[in-house]
Symmetry: C2
Subunit: 396 residues, 2 copies
């Protein structure tokens, strides 16, 4: 079927034509309820409920959903489908199951997470069950293990390079929106509040910072360590009680492992800037993430299996692994700083700042995020332990 | 035409059917002389002479030419064709022109270099015109500029990643033959002469060395900086007087720039081990290579153009470039060491050792190559200048 943009009624027809999916819903099409829940920037998402089961249907639009004048290739849906397939077995059950991908409609049909809530929303409403970051740490470790040169024959990573190198439209967003725009005058950056203007302008001329950002851009494009989710923020995670799931892998690309870690931690740290009373919670979540990530990775990588550590024995692998983790932590620190800055003054900002009750406290929170972000970027190479990172975040 | 292995007579027919190519030769098919000149390990090469012009025809075999029991996918010819196309404009005239690629016959038809000689052969016969390395340094700099994230929009590199990630059969050779086999007992390694056995066995248990080799394997697979030739040794270069050309790009892959530099310098350094009387020549060639490579790269990268240094001004770019060059030099040092070891005791050894006139001097030369190679691998991270590298090679 040639592509067209679905609405509730055409989606109902489309589902009727797909017996396996209709069977999951049960009953007759007239028994189904379909509601649009799109809240991201890019795509349309429908949740469909039937008498027996439910489905989540996500379709790419030919433009950015929240900025229709900005064209965006439909193929991003293909990369999201590929990402789910490449990682599903390793990360199960921490991602929704993909039931079907329609490569003409650029439509993913997947497990409907219900009554799950987006983690960012739950954090803002103070409705999270602490410890959710343990699942995210495991998730990243398991996807690293499933896709890196260390644990897999290199042919596996080469296939992933080939499969994801074409995801340039979304990688261009990362290259620009995260790694360039916040550090230069750019019409895509929303105008900051007057009180924050000097801070924003200072970033435009901060040469040492620009050098460090350039190194991170180089890491992002050059260091193809493992398959990244590519957009692992608290809005790409849904949770209900202790069931925590990662969604929205359309930015997937081979890249530095610390990129996924850094984006996740950056969004946690931003939350603490916006809600200083929750510093304890956030410190605990960051610690839980890093502990579970490193514990899981130590276990999974103990046996090697890839080409990179082929010559090492078990004792040497332990030493290699610890150095590897320090490298990841340094990348994590840098990308964390970038995410804090871009989510504060860039094109796609975060709702966490709505927790600030006065304009002054909001400016204060944003300034703090910029200050911490800058420090993380500049100090990344000196970080060797989680405590170092927490101290730079003023959370230790 | 479905694939079959060409011989002189079937190649004559094939050429007759390709009017453009036949036209380049001129005359009638009966006027053409065809001779096989295959001297590499992998493929069949024919040179065809006609009354007007000549052609070089290179066809992939379904196995390693010198080891027919070792199967090898035909697609390597496709990657060689892609490599020539991706770099031709930038490196002209330092590579033969590709006239035609037949993707069913896995056959490249290119400019016939005549009366050129393979550089390794010319070095062994002492027939080179000194300074040839200047062209090679420019060649590498120009192909880096044409393909790196620093100088090109990242979409260009992504396309190259996708185009070359499938070249796994030849990359597997690099991963195994250069970066693994020489450091472990392996049936592919020829048995060394008795006098060298202790040296070879020492490499099998040298844990610090294995750690450093693992880091280089990681660099090779992870650090996708630019499009590499991938097999830039003195047997992949042809020259006649001051006309120097690079051939045989079938190992092409995105990788660390120092890999190409290191393989080239490693083959020069090996020559000096085999022919100590030519240390002066070799030192001068290594210096010429590095000077021309860095001079050309400084000029080409001055204007930036890629995403990685997008935030930098000209003054900062100079500083970034100098650091970038040091990183390349360190990779160069490590890969140079690897090449010296694998070409001395691995599957594909070099003819340069035939210059040693006694078994004792040959063992001595090989031992020296192993010692220098090991030192380069272990000391790579401490190298900051060409003089450091030359000193490690005992050439300063
Ligand atoms: N499997 C699912 N089950 C239930 N709800 C889902 C599911 N996937 C997505 N949603 C809902 O749809 C919303 C948008 O989904 P998603 O984040 O994948 O879209 P997006 O447009 O790609 O977002 P972004 O702009 O962040 O990339 C989510 O925030 C969530 O509320
Ligand atoms: N364009 C050319 N013009 C003239 N002679 C050529 C040309 N290309 C290759 N040759 C000759 O053919 C020989 C083999 O070519 P080449 O090195 O490309 O083959 P190969 O089998 O891939 O080698 P290797 O095992 O090193 O990969 C060269 O050593 C050279 O003598």
């Amino acid at each position: 079927m040639p592509y067209f943009t679905l609405d509730a009624s055409s989606l109902q027809h489309w589902l009727t034509d797909h017996a396996d999916l209709a069977f999951r819903l049960g009953g007759d099409p007239s028994d189904w309820t379909i509601r649009e829940v799109s809240d991201g920037n890019l795509n349309t998402v429908f949740l469909v409920d039937g008498p027996v089961g439910s489905l989540c249907c996500k379709q790419a639009l030919p433009h950015v959903r929240v900025a229709p004048e900005w064209p965006m290739p439909l193929e991003r849906a293909l990369y999201e489908a590929r990402y789910i397939r490449a990682t599903a077995e390793a990360v199960r059950p921490a991602a929704p199951e993909l039931y079907f991908y329609d490569d003409e409609m650029f439509l993913l049909v997947m497990e409907c997470l219900t009554p799950h809530e987006v983690l960012r929303t739950a954090l803002i409403r103070d409705e999270v069950q602490p410890g959710f970051s343990t699942t995210i740490g495991q998730y990243v470790a398991r996807s690293v293990h499933a896709t890196s040169w260390i644990s897999q024959p290199f042919e596996h990573g080469s296939k992933l390079l080939a499969d994801f190198a074409g995801n340039t439209a979304l990688t261009r967003i990362t290259v620009d929106l995260i790694l360039t725009d916040p550090f230069r005058p750019c019409s895509r950056n929303p105008a900051p509040e007057a009180a924050l203007l000097p801070d924003v302008e200072a970033l435009h001329t901060d040469k040492p910072l620009h050098r460090a950002v350039g190194s991170l851009q180089d890491r992002f494009l050059t260091a193809r360590q493992a398959l990244l989710h590519g957009d692992l923020h608290t809005g790409s995670i849904m949770q209900h009680k202790d069931d925590v799931r990662v969604i929205d892998g359309e930015f997937a690309t081979m890249g530095p492992i610390g990129f996924d870690c850094g984006l996740y931690l950056g969004n946690l740290a931003l939350h603490a800037c916006a809600a200083p009373n929750k510093r304890g919670l956030i410190e605990a979540e960051i610690t839980a993430f890093w502990n579970s990530f490193t514990t899981e990775l130590r276990t999974l990588l103990k046996t090697g299996g890839g080409d990179v550590w082929a010559l090492s024995d078990e004792a040497q692998r332990e030493e290699l692994l610890e150095n590897f983790l320090i490298g990841i932590l340094q990348d994590t620190t840098g990308f964390c700083g970038l995410e804090m800055i871009r989510r504060t003054i860039g094109f796609a900002q975060v709702a966490d700042y709505t927790l600030c009750t006065t304009p002054e406290s909001r400016t204060e929170a944003r300034r703090k995020a910029l200050t911490i972000g800058r420090r993380l970027i500049l100090e990344a190479a000196n970080v060797a332990t989680l405590e170092n990172l927490l101290a730079l975040m003023l959370l230790a």
